[in-house]
Every structure is written in structure tokens, then in C-alpha cells.
Symmetry: C2
Subunit: 238 residues, 2 copies
DNA sequence: CCAAAAGTGTTGCGGATACACCCATGG
DNA sequence: CCATGGGTGTATCCGCAACACTTTTGG
């Protein structure tokens, strides 16, 4: 019960898919503790802001926040020993940046690759930041399948196969372009722009260009089972 | 940027179903601010505990924590003005108590009814505690349909129709006992104890008694769509 | 004309709901 | 023997995954 100084920080695991691989924005610490290790962007919460405002402010120091398509709370990390020396409670966020955005970032900052699957998400993470990145990766995976969260990974306009590649990288398993298109159009998440993309150097039919109808999070599959009566196969798209 | 004293509190929305209605544990404030209004149990986070430990400690002051079958983080509530005068950040939790448990509670504390549906969850809530109860109610509803969370609402042993009544109250819509049993047994969440419950005063066939196979949270329906290939109808029960 | 990429048609499977029907008990 | 509540069998629906097939381009 010592009167150890306690503080509150906000951390953001900002993810994007680039070159078929999930990445997280991190900066390399230039001081002890954890010198040389990779830390998530963030910082102290101010008196006059809530954590949602704070995370946007902190991110603005690293990237152009207009590029961040979606932000949501992940949870609180509060182990008394999570940062040596001080008592620092962290509220962690998931942020998503579309794959075509390439915001300018500071010199000490880089996009670090995220391992798929279950284990540690990034190598050389500072403090408990790997736990946070894992939570972010898992949250993204889960929400891709029952929300329209794909909008936050994709460019404003895209072909189905480009979108498929994003889902493959984020989910960590193969995804059929055919079925992806059907699932997303059935739920009215996609709409064609009308234009087509030119085929690649080896030919092939030009791909139709789509966009997401909404660019804000929407739950499209609220009830897996135990739907309210009378909604038999209607999927409860509220 | 004033050096206003800031603190961290932990709050718990402890829910149970009683008499076919969801209820939340709350205590009536005896001081300003918000005198007479209903507040969630909780209190200051100590230096040597994380929020998970803290919420269990705080709950121990109100109820027998052994009765609490499940606890999980809901999120951070950090509006600078959420509590007048001081800067107080709250980490909120959802707690669940089985319907047959009736723990002793202090005089100022009571089980307050929760409104179903969308609007405000309880009347006369202190501070932003209604928002927290709403979040708890929504979380419970969502997880009932894709996890085994029912175990935290139900007694250790129960009949299907008793379980159905719990689901009806928690979900806010009718649930068929037939289908509830099939869904839960197909997913191997229920097992029969072998015994039967005596019929009511008006007769009827004696009901078989069941229990949940697991009494810890398990996700039973991870992928609504976009399952990994080769898992066609297998439901991905990992 | 062939290869490559995109997109559509079609089939099959399986879970979930709904409903009809059988079972066991009290009065 | 009837009413009441419990439980099972079965039909239907519908979404999704899988795959065959057609379309449109480049070489």
C-alpha cells in the first residue's frame, strides 16, 4: 500500500496488411528499460481527455490519423509489474489502417511483421506489448467473420481477389474468392463501383471493382444460434 | 493539464436471473454526490493488485465471491466528467451469479431489476453506471449464443425447462426448450446427470436433470462464416 | 488458339427452427 | 382417462462451401 506513483497510459496496436502479411506499427526504444525492443505507440492519459480521445492524439504523433480507419478498445492491462519501477495501467486499443495507405512515420518507427497462429505475435516486444498485439490480432480475426470490419483493411475501392488476399493474411487460412464475394454481397456489405481493373501482365479477365457500402463497424451476424423466433434463416441482420 | 488528482476504480456489474428477470447487484448511495442513487460495487484499485484481482476483492465485501461463477472485463470508462469533482477512471467488469445462489448482502445493497431491450438498463443509477449495466447486459446476451456462458447463470443441476426460463429472461425473447436442448447437447455442453426431477403439482412427465460439462468459458461457435477450408459443417468447435 | 484470371451456376451438406407426435406422471 | 408437462422424430429452410463451367482478357 505504499504511495507509489501510479499513472495511466494508452497504447495502440495499429495493424495493417501489407504484402500479404499482417504488420503492427511499433517504435524502437532508445532507452532502458527494454532498450532496443519494440514498443507500441501511446503515452500518458491527460486530465482532460478520455482514453478514446487520448489514443487518437497519441497516434497523431506517429501517423496521419486520418489514415486510421477503425479504432476500438481491447482492454486494460494492469499487472503491477508490467512496467518496471512505476505503476502504469494501460488501456489498449486496436487500430486498423487500409492496406493502400502508407502514412509517413518517424525514423524510430516501423511496421513490424506479426506472426499468424496462436503464439507470440511479434519478436522483441517491449514490456507486455506482445500480449496486446496478440489480443489485437485475435480480435481482428474474430470480427472479420461476423462484422463488416474488412472495410478497415481494404482500400476504398478494390477487386475481389485483392480483398481475398487481405482476408487470407488476416485470418491465416485460405479463403475462396468466390465464397467471399457471395458472403459479403449477400449481406449487402459490398457494392460494385461499375468500373473494372485492367488485367495483369499475363492476361485474364478484367476484375470488377467494388467498395464497402459502409465504412463504420456493423455487426452482420449477431446471433450464431438461438435467434429470436420467426427469423428462421434470415440471419438477424439488424 | 492541471495537477488534478486522478485515480483508478474498478466496478462490477454482477448479474443474475431471478424470478424470470435479470437483476444487477447495486448499493444505494448515502452521500452526495448522487445521494439515493444506485451504484455498482467497486472501489479504488490498490498498488499491488491488477484489476482482475481488485474486482474480486471488492466483490468480497458485498457478496460471497465463491458464488460468482464468471467474471470478465467489459471495458474502460474514462470520461473526465464521469464522476464530479475528481478524475476517476473506471475499469468495468461483468460478473454472473447462478440463479439458485442467494448470497448474503449488506443492508444498503439490493438486486435491482434490469430492463430488457435497448434503452436504459436500470432506473436511478449513479454516475455513468447505467451505461456499464447496459454493456453488461449486451455482453451477456451476445455470449449466450456463441459460448457456453449459460453455466454461469444456471444452478449446478437443472432441468431443460428451468434452463430455458433463464435464457428467455437473459435474451429477452422466447426460446424453445426443444431447440435449446438440441443446440446445447449437439455442442456437448450439456450432460444428463441420470436423475429426474419430480413433476409439479399439476402432474406431467418428470424432467431429466442436466448439468453443464464445463464450468469455465468456452467459445463454441468461433466462426460464423469464412471458416477454414475442410471444416465444412463441423462448426469449428475448437 | 491457348493460358490465365474473373465471375456465375449448381450441387450437396449440415445446422437450426418448427411442429407433430409419443411418454410419464398426477388427479 | 384426461390434462399437463417432458422429450423425440421429422420436415423444411437456408446459408455456406465446393467445384464445374463460362466469360474476358493477353500473348
Amino acid at each position: 500500500m505504499g504511495a507509489r506513483e501510479t499513472g495511466h497510459e494508452v497504447l495502440a496496436a495499429v495493424l495493417r496488411i501489407s504484402d500479404g502479411q499482417p504488420q503492427v506499427l511499433a517504435w524502437q526504444r532508445a532507452q532502458e528499460p527494454d532498450l532496443g525492443r519494440w514498443a507500441l505507440p501511446g503515452g500518458r492519459l491527460r486530465d482532460d481527455e478520455d482514453v478514446e480521445r487520448s489514443v487518437l492524439r497519441q497516434l497523431a504523433e506517429k501517423v496521419d490519423v486520418r489514415e486510421v480507419a477503425h479504432v476500438e478498445q481491447l482492454g486494460v492491462f494492469s499487472d503491477p509489474c508490467r512496467v518496471p519501477g512505476v505503476r502504469l495501467i494501460a488501456t489498449a486499443f486496436l487500430g486498423l489502417v487500409p492496406s493502400d495507405a502508407d502514412p509517413a512515420i518517424p525514423d524510430d518507427t516501423a511496421w513490424r511483421p506479426i506472426a499468424p497462429g496462436e503464439g507470440p505475435a511479434i519478436a522483441g516486444a517491449a514490456f507486455d506489448h506482445d500480449t496486446i498485439v496478440s489480443a489485437a490480432r485475435d480480435r481482428l480475426r474474430a470480427k472479420l467473420s461476423y462484422t463488416n470490419l474488412g472495410f478497415a483493411l481494404a482500400p476504398r475501392e478494390f477487386t475481389i481477389s485483392a480483398l481475398r488476399d487481405l482476408y487470407v493474411a488476416a485470418l491465416g487460412h485460405s479463403v475462396s474468392a468466390t465464397n467471399l464475394q457471395r458472403v459479403l454481397t449477400r449481406r449487402a456489405l459490398l457494392e460494385p463501383t461499375g468500373s473494372v481493373a485492367p488485367p495483369g501482365p499475363s492476361g485474364g479477365r478484367p476484375a470488377a471493382v467494388f467498395r464497402f457500402t459502409d465504412r463504420a463497424l456493423r455487426v452482420t451476424d449477431a446471433f450464431a444460434v438461438l435467434k429470436p423466433p420467426g427469423e428462421h434463416g434470415r440471419g438477424a441482420v439488424t
